[in-house]
């Protein structure tokens, strides 16, 4: 027993070595003293059951106290060394240029991000989101929208039919009709969703694409409100100094109809291949709601006026991020998705 107590005293003196130990020495000391099998202190503790009860109590108390002191000292020195490493770098043998530990991250598709961003901007302008089915009737997809039967305007809307007069909607515009039929003015909605056209895949066409339509109808809405709302959107979406222009166009469901261009983001209007040397990029088709559309929905077209627009988030994403081929947006190559991975907004 006396031997054991002496050994303990000796061991206690060695506590002083700990504050000077470097990482390697510390690890050696730990093994030497507290090692699971051959540790000096471990062996003393292991010998306890063989002692007389009184001796066991005396030696055991001292040994356990020493063990606690060692553990505290080791932990303190480890913390010290770790902090030295954090602050001082290589001095402590830690190469801080080594890569950190990563975890998998995911993210929303670029087109979803653009859709969310657009809806958010229009939300600030008082627009809520409305949605509708992707399989539609000809009435909702065409005729209520003032497409004349057998008119060349239908050519640009080559559609997939699924039986009878049911087709995959060629734009999200049918939701304009559904909204006008279900809610009284004032109406301010944006309509995100998929649309389908019978275009084979190529660099700039996809048979399925995302569209965001918008509709505002109220007593007294004018061409000025229309221009202001969409120009405000463009400045919020692109940059505050974005230049926009409106020019004549044709859609059966708007009159006057307009196309909105923004100054080319790449050449700043000087002309480049991306903007086909025009200095402008087409962003959306739009116009004042055709009175026939309002009438088709039972809305008084003398009292109420409005504006509507439609745009393609894929096209806008490609414009803004310089993506040359729309197919990249559908391939789902994780290297592509990771480039634009941004967490949920």
């Amino acid at each position: 027993m006396r031997d054991l107590l002496a050994a303990l005293t000796e061991l206690r003196e060695r506590l002083q070595e700990i504050p000077q130990a470097d990482e390697r020495r510390l690890s050696d000391l730990k093994t030497e003293i507290l090692g699971r099998k051959a540790g000096a202190l471990t062996q003393i503790l292991a010998a306890l059951p063989r002692l007389e009860p009184a001796a066991r109590k005396q030696v055991g108390g001292a040994a356990n106290a020493l063990k606690r002191d060692y553990e505290t000292a080791f932990a303190a020195r480890e913390r010290e060394l770790k902090h030295a490493g954090d602050a001082g770098g290589a001095g402590a043998g830690v190469d801080l240029t080594m890569p950190g530990r990563a975890r998998w991250v995911g993210g929303l598709h670029l087109v979803t991000q653009v859709v969310d961003e657009i809806c958010e901007i229009f939300h600030e302008l008082g627009f809520t989101r409305a949605v509708g089915p992707e399989i539609e009737t000809e009435r909702y997809n065409f005729y209520a929208l003032n497409f004349p039967k057998d008119h060349p305007a239908l050519d640009a809307q080559d559609s997939f039919y699924v039986g009878g007069d049911l087709l995959l909607r060629t734009h999200t515009s049918p939701v304009q009709i559904r909204t006008l039929e279900s809610y009284p003015p004032p109406i301010r909605v944006v309509i995100p969703g998929k649309a389908y056209r019978r275009d084979p895949f190529d660099a700039s066409h996809a048979p399925v694409f995302e569209q965001i339509e918008g509709l505002a109808v109220d007593d007294g809405i004018s061409f000025v409100d229309f221009k202001a709302t969409l120009a405000t959107f463009a400045r919020k979406f692109f940059a505050p100094d974005t230049r926009v222009r409106f020019r004549p166009s044709f859609f059966p469901f708007t009159e006057p109809s307009a196309e909105m261009d923004v100054q080319c983001r790449i050449c700043q209007g000087a002309g480049c291949p991306t903007c086909k040397q025009t200095g402008w990029m087409e962003i959306l088709g739009s116009g004042m709601v055709h009175p026939a559309v309002l009438e088709n929905c039972g809305v008084d077209s003398e009292k109420y006026t409005g504006f509507a627009w439609g745009m393609g988030p894929e096209r806008i994403a490609m414009t803004r991020h310089g993506i040359p081929d729309i197919r990249l947006l559908f391939e789902s190559d994780v290297r592509f998705l990771a480039q634009f991975a941004r967490g949920p907004r």
């Binding site: 998998w104 989101r129 061409f223 009159e255």
Partner: protein, 805 residues
């Protein structure tokens, strides 16, 4: 539509800057897609006069010419190989050092021992045609040395206009010139036809207006015309021109057509094409000699009546189509294409000229049924100028006679059973202000509308506006307001935000639900994919597309997973091993019940799916071993996350049946989702692939209530249990929870072990139990009693015992 700058200049009587014209058209009429310069590369070519032609000393076929090129050093020597070179004539000349079209620089070199100072050029060498049989002889008295492009009008610009379906008036030069005159100032006047007057003789019928018929039948110069189908053809003007000489067109006509990309055919056809492009009036000239009767009958085709069209294809007609026939059979598919047989050839001397208006929807259906379109059908489908036809016919006759000779013995016959006049629309200036948001002076409105051919007269405080025949798109007041807006210029209107009233439509719950799921799965480390909803049939209920682009994409998806699995294969093909994707999208199936869109109409709903394969986490240099690949336990967690977000209230349960997997079950027992291993075409280095899919519920989510944070300390116990075969962890957890009551706060599995020390067929599962009483400190003894109660219940109910040692 391609228009030529020079052609527009001829109509406007003034020079145009192509870029400026394009800008004006874009901002006021229709977008210009491109401005293409033509023959701008002839700047080095000059006019040269050949003074003397001698034989080349060393070659029989070559000549030596002394040529005046207007240079200060007098005439130069040129070697020429053309058979048609003659002293005294004028040719285009390219000097050594100059550049030919195509960018070839002319080098000084000796030809058969004689040095040439330059080259006399053929049409082909200048890019002006295919003629390479000789050099291009010029009829000009311009001084030698004058730039070729200043003398010969070939330098031009094509202006490519994207004409919308609503503006047929912009499908011709006159219509485009009209818009330019409105925005740039000026008037449009048809240019004189070169030598148009010269062939005219006294007593000629050309100057007389067509004879108007309101009945269906008449005769012109021996040809009987009967209009039987006035619905398909409301107006038909026919003229007979006798004694034409069919041959090549004069250079000016070839030049005009060439400038807009049209190849010359013969003088008669070229003349009709010219009128088409000038006035948007399609014309048809056919050989009178081949006309049986001779008669022109405009009628509905008989069922299955046959015609061989100009493109050599035999076509069967239907009574839905209008045909132009002779006494026996069809010679033209009205408004679309003529027959090869009745075509004008070099042998033609007498011809019938047709100037007609065909009903647009009739033409559209015919064109689609025959899958045959032409310049004519394109224009008829959009609506031509019904009221301008007599003028177009007169000009066509004058042009044909100017380029092909012939005479008109009788004025044309104009069959028009139900004549109509210009439509009148009333426009209220206050409505203009209301719709456009700024007031526009009445005089300004009048000026703008008049500038593009509307006739405006004030009437009772409104404006009575007469719509010209070339604007079939203008049918109501709002159309006139658009005219005012575009002619004034959209940019002239302010764009200040004005106050608005909030809308009545609530934000769509579906979009909220989709956003919630996307957020959850993106946070869990998955990338969002967007696949297309078209693919092969993925089950008996798949909705078929009736007119698919390809057999591979002939159905709408019933589930998202197959599409995502294909995306994983695409990633593997690009050597991406770690692939974690999800999608939130629409899926479809054949409907069974009565829906809004009729009985049996397809149904659609939203679905959420994910696929995972690859390492559990990115490797790190400090790892002691390779990071394990994702397995079914990763799948289970992702599935639980998806179900929690997409279908709250559903539980995830082990699937019964073959294979390891889970299902999501609604409270009522309906299965709304599943998860498991996926089969895919995987490379050897790929990790196992797992997938899940669950139906998206769009209900609003409950608000999460606050639960007070515990203030009392927990008591923790670890317990290892021996589970006989067939006893599940879930069953054990359920028994423990019930037996130990509300003081058991948490149960976590932290280990599973089979092997030494555990009886065969059993397994040891270790649990970490947390006990807590929210109001007071639990005593160890109480916890021991609780645990004992739990263990007893386990033993009694499941035969599960504590593992000793």
């Amino acid at each position: 539509m391609i228009v030529s700058r020079r052609w527009l200049e001829a109509l406007l009587g003034q020079a145009l800057d192509a870029g400026e014209a394009a800008a004006q058209l874009t901002m006021h009429a229709a977008a210009v897609d491109a401005v293409v310069p033509l023959h701008q590369d002839l700047g080095d070519i000059v006019i040269a006069r050949v003074l003397e032609v001698r034989k080349h000393p060393n070659a029989d076929r070559l000549t030596l010419c002394r040529v005046d090129v207007g240079g200060p050093d007098g005439p130069v020597e040129v070697v020429c190989g053309a058979p048609n070179v003659q002293a005294g004539k004028v040719y285009p000349y390219a000097p050594v050092g100059g550049t030919l079209p195509g960018g070839v620089r002319l080098e000084r070199k000796a030809i058969r021992g004689v040095e040439s100072n330059g080259m006399l050029c053929s049409a082909k060498e200048l890019g002006l045609g295919q003629d390479h049989s000789g050099i291009l002889e010029l009829a000009t008295d311009a001084a030698p040395g004058t730039r070729f492009v200043d003398v010969v009008p070939v330098a031009d610009h094509q202006i490519v206009i994207d004409v919308p379906a609503s503006r047929p008036d912009l499908l011709c030069h006159k219509g485009v010139a009209r818009e330019l005159a409105a925005s740039l100032g000026g008037v449009v006047k048809l240019p004189e036809i070169p030598s148009g007057q010269a062939v005219r003789r006294s007593g000629d019928a050309t100057d007389r207006p067509p004879v108007r018929l309101t009945g269906g039948e008449g005769t012109v110069d021996g040809v009987r015309v009967s209009l039987e189908d006035a619905e398909g053809c409301p107006r038909y003007i026919a003229a007979v021109i006798r004694g034409v000489r069919v041959g090549p067109s004069p250079a000016w006509l070839v030049g005009r057509l060439g400038a807009v990309g049209q190849r010359p055919i013969n003088n008669v056809v070229d003349a009709t094409n010219y009128i088409l492009l000038e006035l948007n009036q399609p014309l048809h000239a056919f050989d009178l000699a081949k006309l049986r009767g001779p008669a022109v009958v405009i009628r509905r085709a008989k069922p299955n009546e046959k015609i061989v069209t100009l493109d050599g294809v035999a076509r069967a007609l239907t009574p839905e189509m209008t045909a132009i026939c002779d006494a026996e059979r069809p010679t033209i598919v009205a408004g679309v294409m003529g027959s090869a047989e009745s075509e004008v050839t070099t042998a033609t001397t007498d011809l019938v000229l047709e100037c007609a208006y065909f009903q647009p929807t009739r033409i559209r259906r015919t064109r689609r049924a025959l899958q045959l379109s032409s310049e004519s059908s394109y224009r008829f489908e959009r609506g031509i100028d019904l009221l301008g036809m007599p003028d177009a016919a007169r000009r066509a006759i004058e042009l044909i006679r100017a380029v092909a000779g012939g005479e008109l013995r009788e004025p044309p016959l104009d069959s028009w059973p139900q004549p109509v006049q210009e439509a009148t629309i009333f426009l209220r200036p206050e409505r203009v202000a209301r719709l456009l948001g700024v007031g526009i002076e009445r005089a300004e409105i009048e000026r703008l509308l008049t500038s593009v051919g509307f006739f405006v007269a004030p009437k009772d405080g409104r404006l009575a506006v007469q719509v010209p025949g070339w604007r079939p798109d203008v049918t109501r007041e709002v159309d006139l307001i658009e005219e005012v807006a575009r002619l004034k210029g959209y940019d002239a209107f302010p764009d200040e935000l004005r106050p608005y009233r909030p809308g009545t439509v609530p934000d769509a719950v579906l979009e909220e639900a989709k956003a919630r799921v996307r957020e959850q799965l993106a946070r869990a480390g998955l990338y969002e994919a967007r696949t297309i909803p078209l693919g092969p049939a993925d089950g008996p209920e798949a909705v078929a597309i009736q007119n698919p682009l390809s057999a591979d994409e002939a159905h709408l998806r019933r589930r998202l997973l197959p599409g995502l699995a294909r995306r994983v294969e695409h990633n593997w093909a690009n050597r991406n091993r770690d692939v974690r994707l999800f999608e939130v999208g629409t899926v479809f199936r054949m409907g069974k019940g009565e829906g809004e869109k009729g009985k049996g109409a397809p149904e659609e709903w939203h679905s959420v799916a994910g696929v995972i394969t690859g390492s559990q986490r990115p490797p790190h240099w400090s790892d002691s071993a390779k990071v394990p690949d994702m397995d079914i336990w990763d799948l289970k967690r992702h599935f639980e996350l998806a179900v929690e977000a997409a279908a709250p209230g559903c539980t995830v349960q082990a699937a019964t049946g073959t294979g390891a997997g889970w299902v999501a079950v609604q409270r009522g027992g309906e299965v709304v989702g599943q998860a498991g291993s996926l089969e895919a075409d995987s490379p050897v280095w790929a990790a196992p692939l797992f997938g899940f899919e669950v139906r998206l519920e769009t209900a609003l989510r409950d608000v999460a209530p606050y639960r007070p944070l515990p203030t009392q300390p927990p008591v923790e116990r670890d317990v290892a249990l021996l589970l006989p075969a067939g006893v599940t962890a879930a069953a054990v957890a359920a028994v423990l929870a019930r037996a130990m009551g509300p003081l058991l706060e948490r149960l976590e599995v932290f280990d599973e072990y089979r092997g030494a020390g555990v009886p065969a067929g059993q397994r040891s599962v270790a649990w970490h139990c947390t006990f807590r009483d929210p109001t007071r400190t639990l005593r160890e003894r109480e916890v021991d009693e609780l645990l004992a109660r739990g263990l007893k219940a386990l033993e009694d109910e499941l035969g599960v015992r504590r593992r000793e040692g």
